[in-house]
């Protein structure tokens, strides 16, 4: 007995020294002995004979034969303990020892290691992102260089485009000058002059279309193009394209076919001039790039939706070029065909503004199909019954304010031919004065003039109670200029170069309204 008591004493000394605590259970995991130190780890007083898992949660799932070491377990007191489950013949010994020192050391090490690993991961991600950003920047730089290259190539292309018709104009006007110096005016000389003039007119119109393309592109970029739908004959638009492009197709022996499911007189609400511009570009390109075979323009109007398809049997477009042709100023290098590289960009922008989407399908040597759909409301029958205004402009009195003497002389001469009486003044102040002393039927007003510009003159006329319609003639086609002119009471806005037909039509409309 004394030996057993001594042994227990020694055990207690050791248990106390190492903060050891223990539990003994029988084979059914019922508690048979509990050491004093267990309460130090936050476990409650455990009555003998009860099931161990009712007091020690972590024992759930274990049986009496489980031998396992649980090195770091947070005890209910918060002190980390090492737990060893030791099975024996009589049951299970569960031994607890204080492992808080080890846990603290591990905590410090592990926390740092894990935080470092998270930081390293973050660093790797940031480095990857930096590399990505750097690649993107490189890509953007490349795109900028490409844009600059295209811009340069565009500038040289445009100068070449301008130089060609200008050389033609200068050449033919020289010839005209020489012919008109010849005192012996025979029919052949007149015929020559007419031919030279036609060449001058053709070249001038070409320059004008170049300028208009450039302006349209600028305006599309600045969101300044406004679609102006109005009643128009849809068939007429397509017939115009046929009339304009059939001769060119004919000279190349390319068959041009127009297929529509609507008849002449099919009245719709659309911006016919913009639609014409788009079709002219797409079909014009098809004819331009087709050297044999055919170009077909199909148009179908169903349920107020216009579907257009242009199919050609031309060279087609390579995959690389197909991806680039919508880029402003881009031109396929090896075609040798003239152009600004803006037509398709403008067309695509206009189609989008009109509510459609341009689709291009093409393969090299397989031809090209271009298609788009536009909403196209039909014109109501009552609107169709509106009577056409009658034209009666004889004896009209017009005041022309224009500082450019060449344009003024030309207009005076053309209006005079129509029996229109014209008073010409060269600035806004003189126009104001003339309008106060004389009665006119129409005032044609340039905007940029010396002494007093067109805006100021119109403002003064408005204040003075002027009732004569004023039509502005300006080289600017910007919406803000139109808007400002309207604010000063302008009744119509014509963009230069103004054709005499436009003035006559306007004169008729304005004077009949008055």
């Amino acid at each position: 007995m004394a030996a057993l008591s001594l042994q227990k004493h020694i055990n207690k000394q050791l248990y106390d020294k190492w903060d050891l605590a223990y539990l003994y259970t029988d084979k059914n995991l019922k508690v048979v002995e509990v050491s004093d130190g267990l309460t130090l780890y936050g476990y409650p007083e455990i009555p003998l004979g009860c099931e161990v898992e009712d007091y020690v949660d972590f024992m759930v799932g274990f049986d009496a034969s489980t031998r396992v070491d649980l090195p770091l377990v947070e005890s209910p007191s918060g002190i980390t303990v090492a737990v060893n489950l030791i099975p024996s013949k009589r049951g299970l010994a569960i031994v607890f020892s204080n492992a808080s020192h080890l846990a603290e050391q591990r905590q410090l090490l592990q926390q740092k290691a894990n935080e470092n690993e998270l930081l390293l991961r973050q660093q790797r991600i940031l480095t990857h992102r930096l590399e990505q950003a750097s690649k993107e920047l490189e890509g953007k730089n490349e795109a900028l260089r490409e844009a600059a290259r295209l811009q340069n190539s565009f500038l040289s292309g445009v100068s070449h485009e301008f130089r060609t018709p200008l050389s033609s104009i200068i050449g033919y006007t020289n010839l005209l000058e020489r012919e008109t110096h010849n005192p012996d005016k025979n029919p052949e000389a007149y015929a020559n002059c007419r031919s030279y003039l036609r060449a001058v007119k053709r070249s001038s119109k070409h320059i004008l279309s170049l300028v208009e393309n450039l302006l349209d592109h600028g305006k599309l970029d600045a969101d300044q193009i406004v679609i102006r739908p109005k009643p128009c004959d849809l068939h007429e638009v397509f017939d115009d394209i046929r009339l304009l492009l059939s001769p060119l197709a004919g000279t190349k022996n390319v068959e041009f076919t127009l297929q529509t499911n609507f008849e002449p007189g099919c009245m719709v609400i659309a911006d016919d001039s913009r639609l014409r511009q788009c079709l002219l570009n797409i079909v014009g390109n098809a004819v331009k790039f087709t050297d044999k075979g055919s170009v077909t323009l199909k148009a179908e109007l169903n349920r107020e939706l216009l579907s257009i398809e242009v199919i050609d049997t031309g060279e087609g477009i390579s995959k690389d070029n197909l991806a680039k042709i919508r880029i402003p100023f881009f031109q396929v290098a090896d075609t040798g065909k003239a152009g600004t590289g803006l037509g398709l960009t403008i067309t695509e922008g206009l189609i989008e503004l009109m509510g459609g989407e341009l689709v291009i399908r093409s393969e090299l040597h397989q031809g090209t199909q271009v298609s788009f759909e536009l909403p196209m409301p039909l014109l109501e029958a009552e609107a169709l019954a509106m009577p056409e205004p009658s034209i009666d402009i004889d004896q009209l009195k017009v005041l022309l304010a224009e500082d450019d003497s060449d344009i003024a002389d030309l207009l005076v001469m053309l209006l005079d031919e129509q029996n229109i009486e014209v008073t010409h003044v060269s600035n806004g102040a003189l126009a104001l004065e003339a309008s106060e002393h004389e009665q006119f039927d129409l005032i044609l007003m340039d905007l940029h003039m010396p002494v007093m510009d067109g805006y100021q003159a119109m403002e003064a006329m408005q204040k003075g109670g002027n009732t004569v319609p004023v039509a502005v003639m300006s080289a600017s086609n910007l919406s803000e200029d139109r808007l400002q002119a309207q604010q000063y009471g302008c009744a119509a806005y014509l963009t230069k170069p103004v054709e005499i037909e436009e003035i006559l039509l306007l004169a008729n409309q304005l004077t009949s309204e008055a």
Partner: protein, 158 residues
């Protein structure tokens, strides 16, 4: 009352402790404090006392101590949805677990669903589901799907 042991297992810093604390005590802390060894909590779910072993995560210094998993009735595999590699790791972690304790019911928590850096791919989720696991996209911070995760696990092991 029936008592069941379940273990939270996964890589370090995926949110095992956060999910456990949100479920058991409805608390959440932004501060990261790595778990050493194991923390044991309890919760009552559907008349079952769940003994939740929140086991230290696997990291570069130490693997998961499989002794902690002995006697587990179910496993919640946890990954961090903003670290896709921790989702892939679940497959190898499970293989190790299965070798030690055999097949037990398992659910998956893809945690940190609230963070904008979430980058789990549909393919990753599909590969987890193909193993027969129910996948939860959880947010311990906002308490999203946390209860669903534990309730589902409890139903599987009951």
């Amino acid at each position: 009352m029936d008592k069941k042991k379940v273990c939270m297992v996964g890589d370090f810093s995926v949110g095992k402790t956060s999910l456990t604390q949100k479920f058991v005590n409805n608390v959440f802390s932004e501060q990261y404090l790595t778990t050493i060894g194991v923390k044991i909590d309890t919760a009552i779910v559907d008349e079952t006392k769940l003994i939740v072993w929140d086991v230290a995560g696997r990291d570069s210094l130490s693997p998961i101590n499989l002794s902690y998993l002995v006697g587990a009735s179910g496993i919640a595999l946890v990954a961090d949805g903003t670290r896709p590699e921790t989702v892939d790791d679940l497959h190898s972690i499970w293989d190790t677990v299965e070798k030690r304790i055999g097949k037990v019911p398992t659910v998956v928590a893809l945690n940190k669903r609230d963070l904008p850096e979430w980058s789990v791919t549909p393919e990753q989720i599909q590969s987890l589901k193909e193993r027969g696991w129910i996948v939860f996209e959880t947010s311990a911070k906002e308490g999203v799907e946390v209860e669903g995760l534990f309730t589902q696990l409890c139903r599987l092991i009951q």
